[in-house]
């Protein structure tokens, strides 16, 4: 068993990065995620593992530092909160276009614009449908506990390197700011220059050798035929992710008549709403997508064949509901799909969700 601690989600992201052998973190402070860099700076990992921690002059600079370092085959990451992620969007698109691995943590706050510093899930579209320009996808993991803030750092890096694609941990201010008991991962050493060369030398800028051509890291391709070919390759990669990397959790869905669909902190709230509904004799379950891309559409389509309806619960005006509707549409059984959400940094309570379930779905 790993080391047990009581920590904030944001602190755990930092500790997990050090422990998984991360080579570098480049960031810029913004509430509610500033504890990530604060913890890294306090831990001084450069003495312990050689990890670089750098406060850049802006979010734009930090994502481009990530781009450069990722191009050399290093395990690098950044973190920010919603407005900061918008600033990074251009860089993220370039990294996806150049097919480089990296981890981006978004501890979401309410928007649009500068919005509020309170929790939100209104960046679902931005994270899963692009955010930057061009046809690209991020691998998006949605932690629902402080423990998953630990576990998903290494998982995100594994997936990012497996597919040479940026991976995002889409958290929110609630998970970032709360403390829970967490079992920290064991320390893994950082890869040596030789190991990076052996593993990633085929694409990374590890130094040209006589037996191979130059590795050029770029998203630019002036020949449209080649650029289309690149796009087709990206799309094939995204289809493979959809086949192989879908992760989700089902809670009390076996006999459920109605299913709540929620991710991240909303899913935690919904677990209690399920208990409240069940205590009233209502057969309610919860499906929690863990990967938002790839989305668990097959499992939702399967459920749609035997349940009476779905309620998506999101801290936004209704974003994931579109993916649930698409999945239900594919099932051939057009059961109702409703949405309940709070916005602008308001967190719904378990009681509110249970009430919405009865009003919007069961009664309706």
């Amino acid at each position: 068993m790993g080391e047990l601690r009581l920590m904030k989600g944001n602190e755990v992201i930092a500790e997990a990065a050090i422990r998984c052998g991360c080579d570098g973190y480049f960031g810029y402070p913004i509430t509610p995620q500033s504890e990530v860099m604060e913890t890294l700076m306090a831990r001084e990992p450069w003495d312990e593992t050689g990890m670089v921690v750098l406060q850049a002059e802006s979010e734009v600079a930090s994502i481009n530092m990530v781009y450069g370092a990722a191009g050399s085959g290093k395990k690098v990451m950044t973190s920010s909160s919603s407005p900061g992620i918008s600033l990074m969007a251009e860089g993220i698109s370039y990294i996806a276009g150049a097919e480089l691995p990296c981890v981006i943590v978004n501890v979401q706050r309410g928007g649009p614009g500068l919005g509020t510093i309170q929790p939100s899930q209104a960046d679902y579209f931005q994270s899963t449908k692009g955010g930057g320009h061009g046809d690209y996808k991020l691998i998006v993991l949605a932690p629902a506990s402080v423990q998953e803030m630990n576990d998903f750092v290494e998982l995100a890096f594994q997936l990012a390197f497996k597919y040479r694609n940026p991976a995002m941990i889409l958290s929110d201010g609630a998970i970032g700011q709360m403390m829970e008991k967490v079992e920290l991962s064991d320390f893994q050493p950082r890869l040596t220059a030789e190991e990076i060369k052996a593993r990633y030398g085929s694409w990374a800028t590890t130094g040209k050798t006589a037996d191979r051509d130059y590795n050029i890291v770029t998203s630019l391709e002036m020949d449209s035929a080649k650029m289309e070919h690149n796009n087709l390759r990206f799309q094939e990669k995204y289809r493979t992710m959809e086949e192989e990397e879908v992760r989700y959790e089902m809670i009390e869905c076996d006999d459920a008549d109605y299913v709540l669909v929620a991710f991240g902190s909303s899913a935690r709230i919904c677990q209690k709403s399920v208990d409240i509904a069940r205590a009233k004799g209502l057969k309610v379950g919860l499906l929690r997508p863990i990967t938002l891309f790839p989305f668990p559409k097959k499992s939702i389509a399967e459920l749609a064949k035997r349940v009476k309806g779905f309620l998506t619960v999101e801290m936004n005006a209704g974003q994931m509901i579109e993916d649930v509707q698409l999945a239900v549409g594919c099932s051939g059984n057009n059961v109702p799909v409703k949405h309940f959400g709070r916005m602008g940094g308001i967190i719904p309570t378990p009681g509110e969700v249970a009430e919405a379930l009865e009003q919007k779905l069961i009664g309706g």
Partner: protein, 183 residues
Amino acid sequence: MTEEIIIAGFGGQGVLSMGKILAYSGVMQGQEVTWFPSYGPEMRGGTANVSVILSDSRISSPILHEFDTAIILNQQSMNKFEKAVKPGGVLLYDPHGIVHPPTRTDINIYKIEGTKIAADMGNVKTFNMVVLGAYLKAKPVVKMESIRKGLEKSLPERHHKLIPLNLQAIEAGVDHLEVVQKV
């Protein structure tokens, strides 16, 4: 066993750290815990609150709309959280600065003169530990041994010399809990 608690008062009263010590004590005795703070532009003098859940099983929602216990340390929090105590639950408050005492008849109400006791002890900063002691007398959810370990874990090493003073404040709270109403 699951205990869902809200601790609410002014920033600077030690509301968040009381919650943290309680949560760490739960970890020390093998429980699942969550500590969920109000965060934002709060500062000394503004309102601050934290909900803490201690449980023997997996905790679902860290966000709650009703509580087993409310520890209330100013009037604004009384106005906000008296109604959020579950029927049969516990409300513990410090009467200092409370103009409108609680009026509910379906909950257990306790009082602790935390402000006064801490001042009498000569260290007003131990106020939150006096209140914690009173809470543990009303509801012994964690063992005193776990509290001692929780203090060791949550206080930085350079403050460990203050642990005996904190334990003394907790004891004072245990000794001075007043029962207002039992249901």
